[in-house]
């Protein structure tokens, strides 16, 4: 819960511990991105996973519907562009966000 314990001191966990592991996942770092998003051209993609392993924000996850491809997550992508620079096949490129909306 994102606002756990923010109301009253009486509701804080012992020693201000956070007892819900990984609840930062609720936090929308996609807000940090400006207008551009990385878009993968699946024609060029060789499923090497560099985007998956090199993303500091863990925005790429294996696509359950398309074996071997990776899905990009708008909720976390801060728009750093590492995936674009590191893609060995230049399969990922910037697109204006409106174009894909």
């Amino acid at each position: 819960m994102a606002d756990e314990g923010m109301q009253s001191w009486k509701e804080l966990a012992l020693g201000c511990a956070v007892t819900t592991p990984g609840n930062a996942k609720d936090f929308n770092t996609g807000d940090w991105r400006s207008t551009r998003i990385p878009v993968t051209d699946r024609e060029k993609c060789i499923k090497c996973g560099m985007c998956y392993i090199m993303c500091p924000d863990m925005c790429y996850t294996p696509d359950p519907d398309a074996e071997g491809f990776y899905l990009w997550d708008t909720y976390y992508c801060k728009g750093c562009g590492i995936c674009i620079t590191e893609c060995p096949k230049d399969a990922i490129s910037w697109k204006e966000e409106e174009e894909t909306a």
Binding site: G5, A24, K25, P56, D73, G81
Partner: protein, 319 residues
């Protein structure tokens, strides 16, 4: 004592096909765009997986992962202060050791890791680190080296490279920027005659993750020195963090090597090095340097590389 050598005899390497899926560091952390440090941290945590108990020093990685009431840690995690990650980790290790011996907790194979930045390691934390290594606690200490105090706004540390501009090593009429050579932390760690020391870079992720696995496999202390590009502090584009982490190795500035029971192993022999100028020119922290300065730095980099090669030769007499 060949502690590490024996423990690594049957070491099974990770391959790109069998990467662990768990991410002990979760999404939603608040690191800067293109942060090379959080990328390295993510890879390290991933390499360990569900068995990780993490101790963080105060610094970027602590701040961005734990603003109450959120945590980006899926694993047990503790932060106490800036300079004491190694001592906190030694306490965690000692506590668990006693409890396991007394049968009060089961030996679940947890791996204790301490994470600190270069300031928390090479400067204010070096005493605690040295003590913890010397006492032989079974833990892995990871220095995430972004070459300055980034958390507080890019002040110089003893790990800042010569010539770099920081907010406390500004270039000026009487200054080249950072006035001293970068402190050689991995070799300082190795001087403790500890079982396992390694350098790594997130650009070489398989090398990095395998070194992490080795570090946690080896009984006793292990030290990892991980290069961690900081686009914010180094004043470069966020998309080139990995490229920077690659080029620093290709320029022989940050060689990838291991020290296993005192034996130096060069993991990547760079035959045709990139000139240091090529590496440095993309980072505005070096923008004020002249060709003369680059030549001066190149000389030092070459000398350090030769020393490392000599150490490899000296400690591998059979080769």
């Amino acid at each position: 004592m060949k502690t590490a050598t024996a423990a690594l005899e049957n070491f099974k390497k990770l391959s790109p096909k069998n990467l662990p899926l768990d991410e002990p560091l979760s999404k939603g952390h608040r690191a800067c765009q293109g942060c090379g440090e959080v990328l390295a941290l993510r890879m390290i945590a991933k390499a360990v997986g569900k068995e990780l108990i993490a101790v963080s020093a105060t610094g970027c990685m602590e701040i961005i992962s734990s603003p109450y009431p959120q945590t980006a840690w899926e694993c047990p995690w503790i932060h106490v202060a800036f300079e004491n990650a190694a001592s906190v980790a030694s306490g965690v290790e000692a506590g668990r050791k006693a409890l396991i011996r007394k049968g009060r907790i089961k030996d679940d194979g947890a791996k204790i890791m301490a994470f600190a930045g270069d300031g928390g390691t090479a400067d204010i934390g070096i005493q605690a680190l040295s003590g913890a290594i010397e006492r032989g606690h079974n833990f892995t200490y990871v220095c995430l080296d972004n070459e300055a105090y980034m958390n507080t706004g890019v002040q110089r540390s003893s790990s800042t490279p010569y010539g770099a501009m920081t907010t406390t090593s500004p270039p000026g009429a009487k200054s080249k920027g950072q006035f001293s050579w970068k402190k050689n932390m991995p070799m300082i760690a190795a001087a403790h005659d500890m079982p396992y020391v390694a350098t790594a870079s997130p650009a070489f992720h398989m090398d990095l993750m395998n070194k992490v696995r080795k570090a946690v496999t080896v009984p006793g202390p292990a030290y990892l020195h991980v290069f961690a590009p900081c686009p914010t502090g180094w004043r470069c584009a966020p998309d080139i963090s990995v490229e920077t982490a690659r080029q620093v190795v290709q320029a022989r500035i940050f060689p990838l090597y291991e020290v296993i029971d005192g034996r130096y192993v060069l993991n990547r022999d760079v035959k045709k090095p990139l000139p240091v100028k090529e590496y440095m020119k993309k980072q505005k922290r070096f923008a004020h340097l002249t060709d003369e300065d680059f030549a001066y730095i190149q000389e030092k980099v070459d000398a350090d590389w030769n020393r490392l090669k000599a150490l490899v030769k000296a400690t591998n007499p059979e080769d």
